[in-house]
Symmetry: C3
Subunit: 461 residues, 3 copies
């Protein structure tokens, strides 16, 4: 373990949390739908019922997204035999920090009320903060088991910052649409994490190879994460789309894409293993690739069969990635990707961006209706003269921005994380909870007297 | 293991998924609430707000149902000590395939737009597809651990097809009401699975008896499944009922029935075990019987105490079924029912149908109100002259159809599955993940050097 | 084990469930939003759409609360190495009983229709019943592993009764506001449980010390409980607040308070352990303290930074409680608190009450708006002349009532539970599932032949 005082983590947590309190005190207030003045606002705007408060449009989706962030990502990372505490626990830590910082960063860009200089937050801001955190949790997947919690906090601080800038450029300046974040969240997060992992390359990581695998029950725990991500992905992709048909359609498209992905993942997994057996790593991860890849286009008129095609392809690509690309990247590119995020978020994210660009470019008034086209692509204000084909180009530009921010940011942050001050684990202590967690004694070490009692009791029965 | 090429599973997955894409391309489109033309439709129909899109009435329930299908059924089937991968993994596979085929099959019967020959789907279709899949997952419970994934795919293909026909007969032709699917889903699914299990009877199954049981932590995993099924059953029974009071009432009735079931299950479990101990098998399964049995009548004016009575009885019957009927069926009827689906879905499903018939027959304008009666039982169109007593008879006819389809379909499909081409496991490899999954090394096989370290560390503490 | 017939538990379950059926038959009916007359009621009240049925305002929150009760509390209590069945199973039993009794008790106080003497229930009653049960589950935490299921049933019967009276005094007579139940639920539940634990003090509990701890995977199971409580706490605190901005604001405040708690919990946990390691006990429990402490004030204009401050402080206090106060209480006050509920619910609950009193006293028309102030604090009817400063005093009085009811009730019920008729476990059988559950054989006892086969198969691969 590199030099690191045990005071680092407490100090970082305290200082940053106090900073959050001060910044929230200066900047953050309720928006008009969560403020006690809502009743006056409602009358003023002639809104007929409380049910039209944005809360009721988005809260169910928000809670699903929240589950994906904490249980989905958290449990997906419990698959290692002795890093389950770190998987779920550090995920919890950085998500809880990240969402606060994200409310500020995204708030400055998107929710600043220029009349009083305050950020006004409501339920949509919470969803966006969770989204922003997702980018950093994806990056965590690449370096799972190889870094200290303080390093993760630093990764998150910079990751959220970069995310907010990148998101502003893609969504506002370039005016790309990205409801489910294929580009903004997944592509960025994956390349950010991979670049950091490359910068932190450990040539002697095989010293920890005994712990670099799962046991039977840790694989079952990971399936909890997989299933919650899989089930709630329709909520993820529809959470911040427009009210009405857009949320409805995004949920349907995502549901279908994910279903198709499961079948092709199983097929490829079985096809490439000896004796046609299935590999849990693929089932846990590649089954989700369809949700990533349909993220951008989910709110468009992708058509149900289009969603199936996207899911079909991504199950194949993602699983083949685990089989061929991950070992290749480790051997030749010196990128050690613990969870295989390149297969789950990187490639499917880029594909998602491309699918979005094509779908946008192919949009027509015949399919969307005149008003539908304007609503779906937000052809208003500065962009009221935009046409679908041009929108397709803007979408493609979005992909490039996401990749550049991911790689560029990752290289810089990776460089910072190489400084020998963060307390990262030694090569033979990777994938081990022991350096950072008080561990319970093993079950085998229950004192003999008790085992004897149990034995006797069982005999009596 | 019978003859089976390792290429079977990949081939089936690929071919069927491609077939789905083609059929979806030909037939499936968005309905008016998920299509980009919604905004025009809304103005045309004078709908005042986006919140009246069906999405907002049903999406929260849909997500709960989705969790029941994948986590509920999936984890309930992880209880076996060495079949947790197969329990949760194959459940995932067949549900993901089944819901696609269900969208088509149910769509042809219920959502076909005759003007253009397309099936128009929205959130209600997704819920119904999940329901349809539930029937097949119930059937899986009877043969858990004894079949190959390819057999499960075949079971699902035929099961969904039979389900859609049976459902059309019961709901549309007979005009029975079955909101929570006591008849349509549970009765059908249970007898379908039991008939298949009878056809696939294995006289030498005791060769796998060492694996036919749970370990401590696999029982805790199964409780995840149990609790999610239990908690979200009110959503299951209310998901597709009418807007307003019907959804509200169905949730209340189900909540109460399930609460009562827990108490009588615990009572009977304790009463019939030596020393008054509780048996996890009963807690995991019989506590859910009340939800099954209240399915048909949940939307009716069953009254809160009526719901408690239904739950009370089903907890008793289901638990006694585990204690007496399952061994009897295995010994004398040659039906090996791994999860005891006859106790959880079969008997409670039939009871649910009967409760529904009685409640319907006893309905009156005094209790429902004139409009309420018409709305609740859908006495409109061809059935506008229907009366409650006659409706009760129709409900009873529905039970018979469900049982007949279950048994008849199961015998035929079971016959198909007996062909020696499906790669089912040998009698001494049942309840074992080993034939179909790459398994991690056991915890004990962590290389000695690491165990030594652990050992030393424990000593130091 | 003290004298107890194995018939006790079945007898209690049967008799009480039958009593519930009778009382429900006499008293409980649907309210106007869940009754089939809704359609007439809707027209009569000129309600424009079914979406304004209270069901759609509250059902998503209800389901989240339901998950907290059964999975959240249930899995949080699986952390002991050999008491996971009892943790999740008895939680299930007493919650299922408690919610029925709560519907009656709370119904008599709050939902009685004086025109016909019936209690009219809807979705809000179900949420309140779940809340009421939470108080008893909190109390269970203090005595986890040391009591029999029959004792738990008695604890619940009296606990619900006391809760309903206490709640009526605090909310209706004193007119304190307590949306998230900091006082009503958490303070009461904690002191009720601690008093019972004190009355049941076991001087020789160290005979069970070998089982009084976790193993690796039981700690991961407990994290499921922690995360579901943490994620869904915003729903808990907003479930029964007013429609519109109050639900919206309560969710935001809780979300923020909990995020801050995670950071300070991690900080203190690391700071006070050898080598800066983290302790799972703190992560599992103290991270939730912010949700408790923000319960009362969540619907007020606490401001986002105010929520962070509350969460910040509670993470510190709760974690320090685990490190210093719990051992102190066990040694000097003879209170054995298995789950440390004093740190998670007791202190944070009282803090929550104080925060609520201060926030209420500081309320002003400038911040809330005139109508907003009246709505938020319900200054109508008998209390239409109330002012914020006086409301603050009433809030403070509420804390005292909750503490008094908790301690007083706990002493009495604890006295009842000391009678030697309840079948509580012997001192050397505490924290052990063996007395109450049929346990599966250990994994090690898989017959040698199978292990051999596995071994051979692995070799072949």
């Amino acid at each position: 373990m590199s030099t690191c005082s045990p005071l680092h983590l407490p100090a970082v947590c305290f200082v940053w949390q106090i900073a959050m309190i001060i910044l929230f005190g200066i900047f953050i207030r309720y928006d008009e739908e969560s403020d006690a003045h809502w009743i006056e606002h409602r009358k003023h705007k002639n809104i007929s019922s409380d049910i039209e408060n944005d809360f009721y449009f988005r809260y169910p989706s928000f809670q699903d997204v929240h589950v994906m962030i904490f249980v989905g990502f958290g449990f997906l990372m419990t698959f290692l035999k002795r890093y389950s505490f770190g998987g779920v626990g550090f995920n919890f830590l950085i998500a809880a920090f990240g969402l606060q910082w994200a409310l500020l960063m995204q708030g400055w860009f998107h929710s600043l009320d220029y009349t009083d200089g305050k950020i006004k937050i409501g339920i949509e801001n919470l969803i966006n903060a969770d989204f922003c955190v997702a980018g950093c949790l994806i990056a965590y997947g690449a370096i799972l088991g190889k870094v200290s919690p303080v390093q993760l906090m630093v990764l998150t601080l910079f990751g959220i910052t970069l995310f907010a800038v990148e998101e502003f450029i893609i969504l506002n300046l370039i005016h790309a649409r990205d409801a489910g974040g294929s580009m903004v969240i997944h592509t960025f997060g994956a390349y950010y994490g991979l670049s950091i992992s490359a910068m932190l390359y450990r040539p002697n990581l095989d010293q920890s190879s005994a712990l670099h695998g799962s046991v039977y029950h840790s694989d079952v725990f990971a399936m909890i994460g997989t299933l919650y991500l899989w089930m709630f992905w329709p909520s993820f992709n529809s959470a911040i789309t427009d009210h009405g048909d857009a949320q409805h359609r995004a949920a349907i498209n995502t549901y279908l894409a994910l279903a198709a992905t499961v079948l092709t993942t199983m097929a490829i997994s079985s096809l490439f293993q000896k004796h046609g057996k299935l590999d849990m790593v693929h089932i846990q991860n590649s089954t989700l690739a369809g949700g990533v890849a349909v993220g951008t286009a989910a709110e468009f008129m992708l058509m149900p069969y289009g969603s199936l095609i996207v899911g079909f392809c991504c199950g194949i690509i993602s699983t083949l990635g685990y089989i061929y690309l991950t070992p290749f990247m480790e051997k030749y590119l010196k990128i050690q990707d613990t969870c295989g995020i390149h297969n789950l978020h990187g490639m499917p994210g880029v594909i998602g961006g491309i699918v979005g660009a094509i779908t946008a470019a192919a949009a027509s008034e015949a399919v969307y209706g005149q008003e539908g086209l304007i609503n779906t692509f937000d052809f208003v204000g500065d962009f009221k003269d935009m046409v679908p084909s041009k929108q397709g180009g803007h979408q493609a530009a979005g992909i490039c921005v996401a990749v550049c921010f991911g790689i560029g940011g990752g290289v810089i942050v990776g460089g910072i994380l190489r400084l020998p001050i963060w307390g990262d684990p030694a090569d033979d202590s990777c994938f081990d909870d022991e350096p950072y967690w008080e561990l319970p004694e093993d079950e085998e070490s229950i004192p003999p007297i008790v085992q004897y009692n149990n034995h006797m009791r069982n005999k009596d029965v």
